[in-house]
Symmetry: none
Subunit: 154 residues, 2 copies
DNA sequence: TGAGATTCCATTGACGCCCATGTTTTCCCA
DNA sequence: TGGGAAAACATGGGCGTCAATGGAATCTCA
């Protein structure tokens, strides 16, 4: 399954096009249709992104493991599907981010693609910087607890 | 699984390329894609290094669907994924260390690859020397405790 | 017939691949 | 056991390819 790693800052041109980083495209190369799925983050001024398979999985887990999910979780899944956009990239690997999505993340000139493992996010570079700084502080504060939860490499 | 042992100091050429020590490459020979994963250490002016399997495991261990809605819990994972780089080595076994990563470890001319068991680190040789010295002092100070925790040889 | 969207083409710069060289280690055989 | 051949590894540089980006041309729908 797709793995999104690293951070890439790409330019948004006058027409609103952005290149999806080549490694991200490669990670999704086996998917149909060719493209990405985006929806506004519920917790931050950012865009959540993933492959089609992630939505597939979300749909499956909602129905199959119904009991495991709280009603709130189910509501969130509904929100995700309704606010998602499937974006196909053009022959050069660029997508057009919808107006409302851009506005939600305050993106104008540049877009930072941030790998998060099975998913990724798209940020306005400056906003990402301050957000990362806070996350780093929190992580260092919680370091003892978090360290315990880091998967052991076998 | 991969095991990284010993220390190797290699040159960083004008293009920013460094040879990954042959024993380290051999330890990762069964992985796909062929290369290493690096990210800045959170506690030292050094680079953390590992194989792809480390990230795979990190991604798998966190149930993807839940992470989107619990910001505090996956701070560390997010930091790792976003600041990591997958570096494939060329036919000669060299990788290009990204600018930001080099800066974090103050590496310019030489890079010291330090085996740490399941992972490894990359240091600026002088910084490694002083760091090792301090580690030695601490270890001697804590010697009684450490001795007690050393597994018994049967 | 315009405005927006999609496809196509051109440019530039970075990165990956290839070949060459020097040095060290290993191996083989006299 | 010593010397020479061969392999493995680290290193340097040239060059082709591809990704990111900008803009023009074509298309489509109101």
């Amino acid at each position: 399954m797709a793995l999104f790693v690293s951070t890439f800052v790409n330019k948004v041109d006058r027409k609103g096009r952005v290149s999806v980083p080549a490694p991200f495209r490669a990670a999704l190369s086996n998917q149909m249709p060719q493209g990405i799925v985006v929806f506004p983050s519920f917790t931050a001024a950012a865009i959540e992104g993933c492959g089609n398979d992630f939505l597939e999985q979300l749909a499956t887990s909602t129905t199959a493991a119904f009991d495991l999910f709280s009603p709130e979780q189910d509501d969130l899944n509904t929100l995700i599907f309704s606010s998602s956009h499937q974006l196909a990239w053009d022959p050069e690997g660029r997508v057009m981010l919808p107006e409302e999505i851009l506005a939600h993340a305050n993106i104008t000139e540049q877009a930072a693609f941030v790998g998060k493992g099975r998913t990724f996010q798209i940020w306005e570079p400056q906003a990402l910087k301050s957000h990362t700084e806070e996350a780093r502080k929190r992580a260092l504060q919680n370091r003892p607890q978090i360290a315990l939860r880091t998967p052991e490499v076998k």
